[in-house]
Amino acid sequence: MPGTILSVAVAAGQAVEVGEVVCVLEAMKMKNPIRATQTGIVAEVMAQPGRTVAYGDLLVRLS
């Protein structure tokens, strides 16, 4: 869903559990928590606060 990244909760190298919030996306004046779809280690964080993102953009890559 297109929107603006409000905040990023994880950093590269950090371990995340499935369901953990990785960043918050604001769309239509509503804050949407984006959660990890699997357990793993954060390999790369593409999402940056304030940046506008489109549908299909990669926000966080897990390994």
Binding site: M1, P2, M28, K29, M30, N32, P33, R35, T37, Y55
Partner: protein
């Protein structure tokens, strides 16, 4: 008695004329203000309405607007009556508000997924359902029943516009219903949505359109809608026309100042006057009666019927698309914007935390907004011949 004493008693003349109905409505006004401050239920509207209700029930203050008495030809004065004459009787206030709503509404999600229009239509079912129910109670005329049904549009300005034409004496309960129920969207809708859908249906994921609607489409949309609805239901033209005018300004991209004025200053000033005036129509026994209670109940029903019809229609699309449509989105086909879309998004996330229905729901929600205005126009077209 000494002349001094009778003067002193005159000070309390207002207290002596205070009725139980006045006290009750002052309490209701206090409750609305409490809900606005403590719960933040539509504070922008409920504070002016609550204040208006309290002012209107101070005997002898001349702040009340008793619409029944006005219709019976009784002389009325006072500052809030002046506002009533200027803005409600002439339908000016709801129309001014609609310019701002148009200027603030983004029809993009609807334009990139036009089939959402169907859900906007389904979300108006409550209007006609409650119209029939109100008639069935035997207490209301056809015009009154239609005005009560319009609460099912869940749209304050539309309700006021229609009721002020068909049944101005019921304006107070209808407007209060339309505005307070709007804030109850997150409470009334979710149980109905859960009841009518299975967990599997609620977790259907829907892809987003790859290409958003272009600028030319966005500019042409308000013009075409104005012309089409104008030919179809001319009675809806004032409402749709100003709504689309506001949206045209927004999408034109060249009158930023006017868009801001319409969405902020004009809408805010109008909201203050509209709220106060609507509150002031809640005068004593003219408001505190059985009819108002029945209207409050019918209003909730209208709302519940809208939601149910929307979700059921969504289920129909679920079957028609072989499980590719999430029926929850049907609940967003009402006018309460953007609350309904947010409720749908939240319900979707509850079923699957990675399933964002927000944009689809916004499409249905904006469709519901236009459809409710159109439904108001159709009701007027059918009854005002």
């Amino acid at each position: 008695m000494e002349p001094g004493w009778s003067n002193l008693l005159a000070l309390f003349a207002g207290v002596a004329r205070l009725t139980w109905a006045n006290l009750l409505i002052i309490a209701v006004g206090g409750l609305l203000i409490y809900l606005a401050i403590a719960r933040e239920y539509e504070p922008v509207l409920l504070i002016p309405i609550g204040a208006g209700a309290i002012l209107a029930n101070i005997p002898g203050a001349g702040m009340g607007v008793d619409v029944r008495a006005i219709m019976a030809g009784e002389q009325t004065e006072g500052v809030l009556y002046t506002l009533y004459k200027a803005g409600i009787e002439t339908e000016l206030f709801p129309l001014l508000l609609f310019i701002g709503i148009g200027a603030m509404t983004d029809f993009g999600p609807l334009l990139s997924n036009p089939r959402m229009v169907l859900l906007g239509a389904a979300g108006q079912f409550g209007i006609f359902g409650v119209l029939l129910l109100a008639l069935a109670t035997g207490r209301f005329t056809l015009h009154e029943a239609a005005s009560i049904g319009i609460i099912g549009a869940i749209d304050g300005p539309t309700s006021i516009f229609v009721a002020s034409k068909l049944a101005p004496h019921l304006l107070a309960p209808i407007a209060v219903c339309a505005y307070t129920y709007m804030s109850l969207v997150p409470i009334i809708q979710p149980p109905i949505m859960r009841l009518l859908t299975t967990a599997r249906e609620r977790s259907v994921r829907m892809p987003y359109a790859e290409r958003p609607a272009g600028r030319r489409v966005r500019i042409l949309f308000p013009i075409i809608v104005t012309l089409l609805t104008g030919f179809l239901a001319p009675q809806a033209s004032p409402l749709i026309g100003v709504l689309m005018f506001g949206n045209l300004m927004r999408e034109s991209g060249v009158v930023d100042r006017l868009v801001k004025a319409a969405g902020n200053e004009i809408a805010n000033v109008t909201t203050v006057f509209l709220g106060l005036t609507i509150g002031a129509t809640m005068v004593g026994e003219a408001f505190a009666n059985v009819e108002t209670l029945i209207i409050l109940v019918l209003g909730v029903l209208a709302f519940a019927l809208d939601t149910a019809a929307g979700v059921l229609f969504g289920k129909l699309l679920y079957v028609a698309t072989r499980g590719k449509f999430n029926p929850l989105i049907g609940a967003a086909g009402i006018s309460a914007f953007p609350m309904a879309a947010r409720v749908v998004n939240r319900a979707g996330l509850e079923a699957d935390y990675d399933n964002f229905l927000l944009m689809h729901a916004m499409g249905a929600n904006t469709a519901g907004q236009v459809a409710s205005v159109l439904a108001g126009g159709i009701v007027l077209a059918l009854l005002m011949r």
